[in-house]
């Protein structure tokens, strides 16, 4: 009996596969409760999105829809010009994702592969600028862009993307430092210029980090709220984030329509998450290695 009692510590350390221990069943219960708390709100969105107009506001809680009203996805999207707004968000997101990734790649290449005076200083300035809280620049930049006549246009949401993203630049430089310079030199021997070395050789070799950058850029842009909120006045120029926030700010909103639209807004990011999980984790891993430096 005694040996059995002292067994868990040894087996834990030895990582053998034992049957579920008492401690583990407590852990399982905690995890199960937590999982319900994490997933139920999402399930709730789905059930409401499928409920009929009269079934949303019932005094007795109704946990599952009586009948499935898929037409909410049509009605709900009509109410806020969903597809127009979806298209706006998609155009802005795609254009700025391309810009962020491409400009960060070019800047990263310049900082890590080219030799010129002031390189170190610029590198630390760009990296240091990540520590500057975003709101510090907000008002002067808003004023500047308004003076340029960019108020109520998409330009303030798009143009900054083409000016390099310090975090992505850092990520790309880190990855480039693992690729031996002999590749560049061999290509140079064959008469390749910088553009070719970068886009034909280095970028294909850095594909994992480029995909990570694309995913994070897409997410960031799809999520963007403050900038569209302060720059865009016309409803037909809005992005989904602004449109949904305004839809929800009204208590008379039809809940089932709102939830249907909200689900559709989540969809692109959910799809990216399920297909790009590996790259998500990779990106987060590099956050860690940056912290360890």
């Amino acid at each position: 009996m005694k040996t059995v009692y002292s067994a868990p510590a040894v087996t834990n350390a030895g990582r053998s596969r034992r049957k579920i221990q008492p401690v583990n069943s407590i852990r399982m219960v905690v995890l199960l409760i937590g999982t319900v708390a994490m997933l139920y709100p999402l399930l709730w969105v789905v059930t409401i999105a499928l409920k009929g107009n009269n079934d949303i506001f019932t005094t007795t809680p109704q946990w599952f829809p009586k009948e499935f009203h898929f037409e909410n996805f049509v009605e709900g999207t009509k109410q806020i010009h969903f597809w127009l707004t979806f298209k706006n968000s998609m155009i802005i997101t795609v254009i700025s994702t391309v810009g962020q990734v491409a400009s960060s790649i070019v800047v990263g290449y310049g900082l890590s592969r080219l030799r010129f005076p002031g390189r170190k200083l610029w590198f630390s300035s760009f990296i240091g600028s990540m520590m500057l809280p975003g709101f510090v620049g907000l008002v002067p930049v808003f004023y500047l862009f308004s003076q340029l006549g960019w108020y109520n246009t998409w330009l303030p949401l798009i143009v900054p993307s083409y000016l390099g993203n310090p975090a992505f630049t850092f990520l790309f430089i880190q990855f480039l430092s693992t690729i031996p310079k002999s590749f560049d030199e061999a290509a140079k021997m064959d008469g390749a210029g910088d553009t070719q070395i970068l886009w034909r050789i280095l970028v294909p070799m850095s594909l994992p980090v480029v995909v990570t950058m694309i995913i994070f850029a897409f997410n960031g842009s799809w999520n963007q709220y403050l900038e569209p909120l302060i720059y865009l006045v016309d409803q037909n120029k809005w992005t989904l984030s602004v449109a949904l926030a305004s839809f929800a700010s009204n208590w008379s909103t039809q809940w089932n329509y709102f939830m249907a639209a909200d689900l559709l807004y989540m969809m692109p990011l959910l799809i990216i998450f399920f297909f790009g999980q590996k790259y998500f984790m990779q990106g987060l891993g590099s956050v860690n290695s940056a912290g360890l430096k």
Binding site: R27, L31, S129, P133, A245, A248, W255
Partner: protein, 299 residues
């Protein structure tokens, strides 16, 4: 000789051409706002007409007259002081739980991470409905446990707590970072400490904690900087109310600038918030240096 010099100049131009996007970006988003903000903070300015220099009037008004400023500052401190430790400790505890070899562990990890991949506005609007006093999910859950309904967002004492609670739905973001940190700890360290007779808390204190301290520290700094800047939570869910109970400073800045058109005043507030964030970062950095041990420390 001549060719090599020309080559160098060529390299020089090429280098600056490559990094020019970031130089322009640095100018527009860092240098220009920082320099101009110093002047703007000392002006009365509506964002349309010319700024009018008023000296330290903005700060004077801020500290002595503005009825909301001190309250906003207090609310912001409460928010940061609850939100940051809760998400750090909760995230770490969750990561340790999810680092165990349990059945369905991959499913659990995904379930806890899932809420963090959703768009921020989608989750905030969703929580606004969850907190609806009559038909919201939160009160229905309370009802299940036989508790009377609660005014989550319209009760002055509860609103800030509700905002923080909604944010904890995204605890998986920190969890996943801690988890990857925990998984990089060599297993033989645990075996060695197990052989030395260390159990539970002692293992955590002497093996786990020191090894993930750098990650913990980075998350702490990022958490502080991020929490002080929280804005959308309040803008979407409460609008700063009821009775300014959720008036985070960054939201007040937004409202003062873009609703009340007090650009100069807002920028004065930006400086206050900026200095507070700097102060907190420096203090955290100083304190953490005593505890954080870097594995590859060559100093």
């Amino acid at each position: 000789m001549k060719t090599s010099r020309r080559y160098n100049r060529f390299e020089w131009v090429k280098g600056y051409l490559h990094i020019s996007p970031s130089i322009i970006g640095f100018g527009i988003f860092v240098a220009y706002p920082l320099i101009m903000s110093i002047y703007y903070a000392l002006t009365k300015w509506d964002g349309i007409n010319k700024p009018e220099f008023v000296g330290f009037d903005n700060f004077n008004y801020l500290f002595t007259v503005d009825p909301v400023f001190w309250k906003a500052l207090r609310v912001t401190f409460y928010y940061v002081l609850i939100n940051v430790p809760a998400s750090l400790i909760g995230g770490l505890a969750l990561a340790m739980l999810l680092n165990k070899k349990l059945p369905f562990i991959r499913f659990f990890r995904t379930a806890f991470y899932l809420p963090t991949v959703l768009p921020m506005i989608a989750t905030l609007t969703l929580w606004k409905f969850i907190y609806h006093p009559q038909y919201g999910l939160a009160n229905r859950v309370l009802h299940l446990f036989g508790s009377p309904p609660v005014n989550w967002l319209s009760d002055e004492r509860l609103a800030l707590f509700s905002v923080i609670l909604a944010g904890l739905w995204q605890i998986g973001g920190g969890m996943i970072i801690f988890l990857s940190g925990l998984q990089s700890i060599p297993q033989d360290l645990y075996e060695a400490s197990g052989m030395d007779g260390a159990r539970g808390w002692a293992v955590f204190r002497n093996v786990t904690l020191p090894l993930i301290a750098p990650i913990l520290f980075l998350q702490l700094i990022l958490g502080i900087i991020g929490s002080f800047q929280s804005f959308a939570q309040v803008q979407v869910m409460t609008g700063g109310g009821p009775n300014y109970a959720t008036e985070l400073l960054n939201f007040k800045i937004y409202a003062d600038v873009f609703s009340s058109k007090m650009f100069g005043y807002g920028i004065a507030e930006v400086w206050i918030l900026f200095l507070i964030i700097m102060l907190f970062t420096v203090i955290t950095y100083r304190y953490s240096n005593q505890f954080v041990h870097y594995e590859n420390d060559n100093r």
